[in-house]
Symmetry: C2
Subunit: 519 residues, 2 copies
């Protein structure tokens, strides 16, 4: 089908002309930090919250978590926890005491202070897809290994869309760049193509330190200024069940000691690396996340930490991960209740199992994004561009997801549900009466321009007008917008001196051999 | 693009072979009446609810509603309302007194009592798309006028899917059947192809009476048995702004006098036939709906009535209706708050503006279906098969929507969020430990089969397996399932005598000329 679409696209005609329209025709919503005032959807009653809490505490007290990182083991010993080999058991009183210093809300300030994000406190933020090894677009029409050029194009989309608040991990893994220096090239691209909050992979000391240094340089900061408040973050996954590996914990310790933020996201797939029951999988996830966050609070009380959820279920037929399922939604909502119980900001994701940007992709992604809203999630990873359970990044999917995210942003604007006398509009209803319409009246004219969400990739024309314009399905329209955005992309301004300093740093670190690749 | 898909489909090969798999491979969820225990999303605070209530009452008291139906005007006069020509004003005390007799919950029992539905009381029901004049499928690949054959096929889908609880209006308007006898043919098809709750259009006395008679015959009921409780319903729209036409009110009066149910659904499109503000459009909708429901309660206290919402917004560019927008979602949620305020069951819809069953279709439809869940809606019209703002019915869209509806049904099952000790699964977590997995353990084996939602049109395989199986996009997979379902369809059993009586009724009424076509 992708081949068919491409051939049609290349054949030009009326539809191709439409695609050549100026980019200025594409109005998007302004940059803002949405505030989610909806009462969260809470499937657990109080006793359910207590059951999961008690279960997580029993895991920490009776079963323990494996920490492979020696430094972490030493810290746990120092804190009075029970350490047997790599197994760490910790009492619930100690865990809750440690959590008491974790902030419920904090800011991260990137090189452009106007792009500062607030994590927690009812805000909800969206970021690009991170880490797929593969890439798919309508023009290529098949799954291919990611490249630096594709990665850069997806970073351009990340920067272009105001509804994308932060630049997560690599939007696609550029496997054409050697792993030892990949972080240097991609983070250079990220620093120069975007001015939004960036992320460091905790995949070895050198990588984390290099990224922190590059974020410092890009921000024109002294070491002291950098360490004074969060300018970036790392996100780690536990090795479920019940394990934290060496580099992930190392990266977090490096970040928090320099005042940067960490997100701890277990990947507890119910029926595979977690119990087949959703509350069991959530309980395991909570225990794994809290064990690390408690450690980080012990090391640096008040360190900005986020509890992440990546609890889903397997496909009963194949054992493969499924995403955007009813079970996924409920797990996310349950985790939201637990995050509020512990007073921690929360991360969730925009995910799907679909292989191409079609109907299934959008109902699965809608399910996951709306469950983020319903759960009171504060930071949504992979919110744009994700396919095939995270194995594929797609620019068409990125553009389509941004429409859904913009609609969520609009949905959260209080004006939509305002009920002042002017909103209730009795005078306008009286004026129009039973035989008129509201198109022309002053009440409408005064509000028309901003009254409703205006889409950029949805086509709201009737069938005949849509057909006349080429009869393009959504993925095809998204492809054209992606091409337009990349063609017209202008990087955010950067001081020449800073750019040279970044280049010099990359050159020097490459000369030194980059980072070890034995991870 | 539809042409491309069709050509590929016809070319056969591996993918075509896959499509020939037995229908028994297609497992769907059982028939059940889902109970929605989620706390509704309520964007209005108490003062917002009061502002809309007061606005609606002021419309009824100060502006009045036009009732073109003479009988209705006489009834309003008799009830003490202020009638000037066709304008009816009614005091809020009278309205609230009338509403006090409306049931918050009632049942409708079709010819198969196992298909009884409960409307209200936290239940949520889904029905097929109703009334599009046009049809689209992948094989035809363009918009065409509806036919009786297409209508019958969509009725087969309505019957086939357990998640579809009732047969709404004609799933596509069969314009190849003369309007005078169309209701006889389509309702005959509906009575014989389905055993679910049916609907009568209030488009003239003969049509309503004929349908009630056919439902009575199909159920093997005496006139007394038919009138003793609801066996079917009608759904009417007001002529917004501020007007109820003659046949719609007539049809409702005929239904309630024979003990049947009515749904009153204003179509208040913000910026067109309603104020440009969403709360204003909701207020107008509430006033229009309550004026009719108050009348019906006056005529028959306790008559089963449902308040419907069809409040959306126009496209700012074209003035065309938009659906599944953020504004639509909020209007639905606000109407849910008002329906609970008045103690009435509520109807909403599954809608989109998209012209084909693609990504946009599914994010718009997901938005509308989830807002039905969030608003506490009891009965969801147009939940499967709707395209182009209701102007097109599509079997592919029908199948795709049923996947979303099944996921909602699964989402609402309490087992998903159970937190018994067995669910929290501490023993299983202990058993597996840090180095195992949960695939093989007894805790998983005991629960595996029913642990997770199992899809029928979603493809959860990885890209390579999906590609090997033909690389079919969602709409194409849905097309094949639609063909399989129709090919293997077996109508629900019907007594030969009843079938003959139905046939005789249709023959007689056709001989009498059917119904007038001057509506």
């Amino acid at each position: 089908m992708a081949d068919d679409i491409l051939r049609k696209r290349r054949s030009g005609g009326r539809a191709a002309n439409t695609a050549r329209r100026s980019q200025s025709l594409f109005a998007q919503m302004p940059w803002r930090i949405p505030l989610n005032t909806d009462r969260p959807t809470e499937p657990l009653r109080e006793e359910g919250v207590q059951a999961i809490h008690d279960g997580a505490m029993r895991i920490l007290e009776e079963i323990g978590i494996e920490f492979l990182n020696e430094e972490a083991l030493e810290l746990f010993r120092e804190a009075g926890c029970t350490v047997n080999g790599t197994n760490v058991r910790m009492g619930r009183d100690w865990v809750m005491e440690m959590l008491s210093t974790a902030p419920a809300q904090f800011d991260i300030t990137p090189r452009n202070p106007d792009r500062k994000i607030t994590i927690g406190g009812g805000h909800i933020l969206f970021g690009n897809v991170s880490s797929p090894p593969n890439y798919w677009d309508l023009e290529i029409g098949r799954k291919v290994s990611g490249t630096r050029a594709q990665c850069a194009n997806l970073l351009k989309l990340t920067q272009y869309f105001n509804c994308i608040h932060f630049a997560g991990g690599y939007p696609v893994e550029p496997v054409d760049v050697h792993a030892s220096v990949r972080h240097l090239d991609v983070v250079f691209d990220k620093m120069t193509l975007t001015d939004k909050v960036a992320h460091a992979y905790s995949l070895g000391a050198e990588r984390v330190e290099d990224v922190m240094e590059m974020v410092r340089i890009a921000g024109g900061l002294t070491e002291e200024q950098f360490a004074a408040k969060p300018h970036m973050y790392t996100n780690i996954n536990s090795t479920s069940p019940l394990k934290h590996d060496i580099p992930m914990i190392d990266g977090c310790l490096r970040c928090i000691r320099k005042g940067q933020a960490v997100i701890v996201t277990p990947f507890t797939l119910a029926g595979a690396m977690a119990p087949v029951t959703m509350s069991g999988a959530v309980t395991l996830s909570i225990a794994e996340a809290l064990s690390a966050i408690a450690l980080f609070q012990y090391v640096r009380p008040g360190a900005p930490c986020v509890i992440g959820t990546f609890t889903s279920n397997v496909d009963m037929k194949s054992g493969a991960p499924a995403f955007g399922t009813p079970e996924y939604m409920r797990a996310t909502q349950m985790t939201g209740q637990m995050a509020r119980y512990y007073g921690l900001p929360m991360r969730a994701s925009g995910v799907c199992a679909a292989n191409v940007p079609d109907g299934q992709a959008m109902w699965e992604t809608s399910n996951s994004l709306w469950s983020a809203v319903q759960s009171g999630t504060n930071i949504v990873y992979h919110a744009a561009g994700w396919l095939e359970g995270g194995l594929i990044a797609s620019p068409e999917k990125f553009v389509m997801d941004c429409e859904v995210i913009q609609m969520i942003q609009r949905y959260l604007e209080p004006e939509v549900v305002a009920t002042s006398p002017d909103d209730i509009a009795i005078d306008a209803i009286k004026e129009v009466g039973p035989n008129g319409h509201f198109f022309g009246i002053q009440h409408t004219q005064d509000r028309y321009e901003d009254a409703f969400y205006q889409p950029f990739v949805s086509d709201w024309r009737n069938y005949e007008a849509w057909e006349l314009a080429g009869g393009l399905w959504t993925a095809e329209r998204a492809h054209r917008l992606y091409k337009e955005i990349v063609a017209g992309f202008e990087p955010p301004p950067m001081d020449d001196g800073i750019r040279e300093e970044l280049e010099a740093f990359v050159t020097r670190r490459k000369a030194e051999g980059g980072a070890p690749t034995d991870f």
